[in-house]
Amino acid sequence: MNSKLAPRFLIIGLVLIWAIWAIWPTFQYQRLSDAEKEMLREEGKLAQIESRTIKQGLDLKGGMYIVLEVDLPTLMETLAENKDGKFNRSIASVRNQLKRIPEANFFTLFTTTSGENNLKLSRYYYDYGSNNSDIIVALQDEAEDAINRVLEILVNRVDQFGVAEPTIQKQGNQRIIVELAGVQDSERARTLLESTALLEFFIVKDINTTNQLMVRIDQVLKGDESIAAVTKTTIDKKSNEFQESDDQTISVSELFGETEGSEASSDSAVVDENIFAERPFSAMLRNLGQTIGVPEKNVYAVKKILERPEVQEKLAAVGGMFLFSNKAEEYPLVDGTLEMMYSLFLVEDAAELTGGVVEEAKANLGSQGSTSAGQPIVNLTMNSDGARKWSIVTGSNVGRQVALVLDKKVHMAPNIREKISGGSTLIEGFADINEAKDIAIVLRAGALPAPVDIIEERVIGPSLGADSVRSGTLSIIIGLGLVLVFMIIYYRFSGLIADFALIWNIVLVLAVLASLQATLTLPGIAGLILTVGMSIDANVIIFERIREELRKGKTPKAAVKSGYDRALTTIIDANMTTVIAALVLWQFGTGPIKGFATVLFWGILISMFTAIFVTRTIFNSLTSRKGFTKLSI
């Protein structure tokens, strides 16, 4: 071996050893069976291996990706004091503007709208400053603080949800991205993530008040021409039409919650037409003993009725409001069939307590000897302030229900058995321990500082992910095979050298990804395949140059030298532009696209090492051998 080449071989050798070391855990991890993984997990060694492997993106292993955003208008409403009509109109106007221009900045709109409406913010936010611009800055801080607290609470909740490697990160200053790998039950995950509004305790009004109110609502609606007419009209409205119809006049299809046209009457009618004429509201409801049931099909119509001003008037008269349960459950009907129904609760219109008083909430099995032995229960403790109020509330409402309300949805409405004065409450009546756990999480999360909305949700099923892995791997193998074979046929022995460099290129890219703990996504696999196609280009440029030089009559050694020298600037200039494109993609892209950009970027950089440095070293050691006269190219 030529002694001048020794340092080059040393560098190549070291890089190769590093690459094997970096990629080994990934290789090892791929070969583990689930049982072996479980065993390593118990020994506490799995995390160590996992921290050095290439992670698979959600698009490959399946899972949920959710973007949450703080609902700023509502947060601002919550923070404001002495709200008046002017304030409410301004916030409503900002809301409308946001609907029209979704990408607009809330605070910019709020500032201009406040200016236009001559709104003195110090009236509503006197704690935050004295002039509008100071207050806006302070409110921005408050909003950012809110998202940080939401983030903390979400991290807690998701941990309790029991997902392996959840990712929860802040994006910008009002968004949170949650990635839950392998989660398919999006309903349960969604409920936990979205249950982010204020937790409140409401006293449920007694049955008599509720019944009287329903009668009154029926009477109000009965006199209404638009609803009375409904029963006589044949049902032939198309579903699309009613959506455009004015809210003031609920069309028949809305009221029936069904739009199957005339078939509706034969298809186990949701309401009885005769009863409906007399009692348009209660006919849509079911008696479930202590609570009112709303069949799933009638939810929309019931909501529309409750929004009507004359109904709101009646509600205000008794100081109550209607709240739905957070989910529908199956109830048996008289004829033995099952129907999915939401529960509807009439509660006092002011909350007795908010979640801020909750100190601890734990799900357990009732201890031996107690009345709830072996049953799932939740132990709720409150701070001293909460405990004092709680004892008054429970003391004066024994026998009534208290609704645990999160995000204006009733999660549970247990009966108050006795006055609770110690601040420690025991809740029972859960179907299973999981239900108790979910309620405990809801209680513990307490008062989230701001309501959040899910603004983006993506779920990738496990089969699609597995499919992508399979077809991605197949494409890499076939694509790589084609290129390798082509190079050998076209450039013979030199082609083999280029192939060797190409394989090292791929191994090195994977090694870099593993040590960066990067995530491999489907576009990332595409990037890897593209790298195969593009990184061979450097060798093609060099080889074509060497052939040209050989045709000019140069010796193989001289041809190799000038071939490499001349090709170098070309290769660098040409690859730089792709590097620029990859960097821009990395900067602007999210998730999968970022994965693509990472692979492309490293693929090209590494290809310059393998295709130029590695192959040249091999060529040099070949041409400097004694008796070398002919280059196979």
């Binding site: 699609l464 280009d537 900067q587």
Partner: protein, 309 residues
Amino acid sequence: MRIIKETNINFMGQRKLSAILSAFVILAGVISLIINGGPKLSIDFKGGILVSVQYTEPMDVTAIRTSLGKINIDGQSFDFSREEIKHFGGPDAVSVRVPHIDDAPENFAQKIVDHLYDSFPGQVPDNKTDFILGKGSVGPKIGAELSGKALMAIISALGLILLYISIRFEFRFALGAIAALAHDVLITLGIFSLLGFEISLPIIAAFLTIVGYSLNDTIVIFDRIRENVKASKREAYHTIVNHSINDSLSRTIITSLTTFFVVLVLWLFGGEVIHNFAFAMIIGVIVGTYSSIYIASPIVVHLHETATK
């Protein structure tokens, strides 16, 4: 082995013909874009819901269309029979795309999936998690932001590349390269519009990769021009350019072929999710190779000739 022997094709002599060909293809694409009111954007940019589900036997799209004609969710009625409903990958899988609805019921995407599941009992997997291939729901705000970001990405990539080439070569080379890029992206966009394919986030990534690839090709030729101009100052400029293209022709063809192979493989075997990405790349490789010879170089020649006249 050699595919390309030494050639002496008069590429610059064909530039009028190629200009007409390019203009024709671009025009067809632009007309299609105008008729369709711009490119067809995916839910990534427009917001909305996309669900894809896997049945156990081949499904008739019309039957699914009918079943979505009367869909009732929480008592609210919808008619999705006119929305985009098509096969996804094979005849067993179906994807449904629904635009954003302001007062949509909660967990809307899942409820659409439930409806698709319940409407065809006996033709669905027992386990619902096997039924869902994927679902996505994007709010209009995210969509609007992404459109802005994608536009910014393309503009800043072009700007940076223009800068790089101006520094490394001359400004007129940069203009030639950018014109070739605009040509490539316009043609790919036009073909997508003509075929009714939608522009999603991965397609934007494909566009930027096409930009990178096409430039790669262009710069190899520019590099030869730069070298040959230094070597022979006496020859006419367009002759030098012709020589340079011929000199690098075998490299151009071999690299294009290998890249074409791999994106073709990706298109054939890569699976449904990156099918359109691979398709964009196939067009990009073909158009990118063509444009570095027939668009970028003639523009450099033209700019040189007008400057020296």
